[in-house]
C-alpha cells in the first residue's frame, strides 16, 4: 500500500475529480499537493521521541500526558491540530506488567504529526489482521520477547483517536540528558513493535 499507484484506477479517478474541482474554481492548481505537504511538514518520529523523553524526566508531565495528551504536548510545542480538525491523541504507557501496541485494522490511521508518515508494514494487511489476534506472535517476529507475566494491550484506531505508546525508560539511562534520551526512542517503540 506504500507502493506508487500512479497508474492505478483510483489514481485516475482522483486526478479526474481534482481536475473537475479545478475547472469549477473550487480548487487551485496544485492545492492538494500543497495541503498534503503542509500536513506532513514537521511530522517526524523525532516529535514523538521528544514527548517520551520529557515524560521520562518529568513525572508531572507524564501524568498530564496520560490524562490529556492533546493539552500536554503543547507544553513541548507540539499539536494534533495540523489537519482539518484537531485529532484526539491517546498516549498509552508501557509498564512492567503491560505492553501496548497500536494498529488500525480498518485502514492505516496513525498520528502523522508526531510520527511522520507510517511505515509500510503498519499499512500491510498482514500486520493489521494478525496483531489483534496474535500480538505476542507478531511482536516476536519484530524481535520483542515479552515475559509471560507481561500482559499485552492492543489498541485499534478504528475511529477518531490516534494512539502513541510511551515506552519504558531503559535501565542505565539515569545520567542522560533529555535530548540524549530522545535519541534512544525509535518509531517502532512509539507504535509498540519494539521496546526502547
Amino acid at each position: 500500500m506504500s507502493d506508487d499507484h500512479g497508474s492505478s484506477v483510483i489514481s485516475a479517478q482522483v486526478r479526474h475529480v481534482e481536475s473537475l474541482l479545478e475547472s469549477r474554481g473550487l480548487l487551485d492548481a496544485g492545492e492538494i499537493d500543497t495541503r498534503i505537504d503542509e500536513f506532513l511538514a514537521g511530522g517526524s518520529p523525532a516529535n514523538g521521541a521528544r514527548i517520551v523523553a520529557r515524560a521520562w524526566v518529568d513525572p508531572g508531565f507524564a501524568e498530564r500526558l496520560l490524562a490529556d495528551a492533546n493539552s500536554a504536548i503543547r507544553e513541548v510545542g507540539l499539536s494534533m491540530a495540523g489537519g482539518l480538525q484537531e485529532q484526539r491523541l491517546k498516549v498509552v504507557a508501557n509498564t512492567a506488567d503491560e505492553h501496548n501496541v497500536v494498529v488500525c485494522t480498518l485502514c492505516s490511521c496513525y498520528p502523522i504529526a508526531l510520527l511522520g508518515p507510517s511505515p509500510g508494514w503498519y499499512k500491510s494487511e498482514a500486520y493489521r489482521s494478525r496483531v489483534v489476534r496474535d500480538p505476542r506472535g507478531v511482536l516476536a517476529e519484530f524481535g520483542v520477547e515479552l515475559p509471560a507475566g507481561t500482559s499485552v494491550a492492543v489498541w485499534d484506531a478504528s475511529a477518531e483517536s490516534r494512539y502513541m505508546v510511551l515506552p519504558r525508560r531503559p535501565d542505565g539511562t539515569e545520567g542522560l540528558a533529555e535530548d540524549e534520551l530522545a535519541a534512544l526512542v525509535t518509531r517502532k517503540g512509539l507504535i509498540g513493535t519494539a521496546v526502547v
Binding site: 489476534r133 492492543v154 485499534d156 478504528s158 475511529a159 483517536s161
Partner: protein, 94 residues
C-alpha cells in the same frame, strides 16, 4: 441515580449485523461483549457520513475486549474505538 446507561465500567454488547455500507465496527468485534473504558469525544457516525446522511455528534467510546471473547484464544486485550450507536448496555443481574 444516573440515568445515562453509558459510563466507564459498563459492559456492552456490540451490534452483530453486517451492514451493506461503510462501518467502523470491525468484523472481529461484532456481537461481542466488552467494557467501556472511557469516552473519546463526540463525533457524527462515520457510517452516516460515508452515505452523505446528516448525523449529529454522538459519544465515541474506547471499548475493551478480552481476546478470548473475540477469537476464542489469546490472553491479551483489544481496545476498539466505537460509536455509541454500535453498543447496547448489558443489564446486570440485580
Amino acid at each position: 441515580m444516573g440515568t445515562d446507561p453509558f459510563a466507564p465500567g459498563v459492559r456492552v454488547r456490540t451490534r452483530a449485523t453486517d451492514p451493506a455500507g461503510h462501518t467502523r465496527l470491525p468484523r472481529y468485534a461484532r456481537g461481542a461483549v466488552g467494557v467501556l473504558v472511557e469516552q473519546a469525544g463526540r463525533h457524527p457516525l462515520a457510517d452516516d457520513r460515508a452515505r452523505g446522511v446528516p448525523a449529529d455528534p454522538q459519544p465515541v467510546w474506547h471499548v475493551r475486549f478480552a481476546a478470548a471473547d473475540l477469537f476464542g484464544v489469546g490472553d491479551h486485550t483489544v481496545t476498539v474505538e466505537l460509536w455509541q450507536d454500535y453498543l447496547t448496555p448489558i443489564e446486570e443481574a440485580p
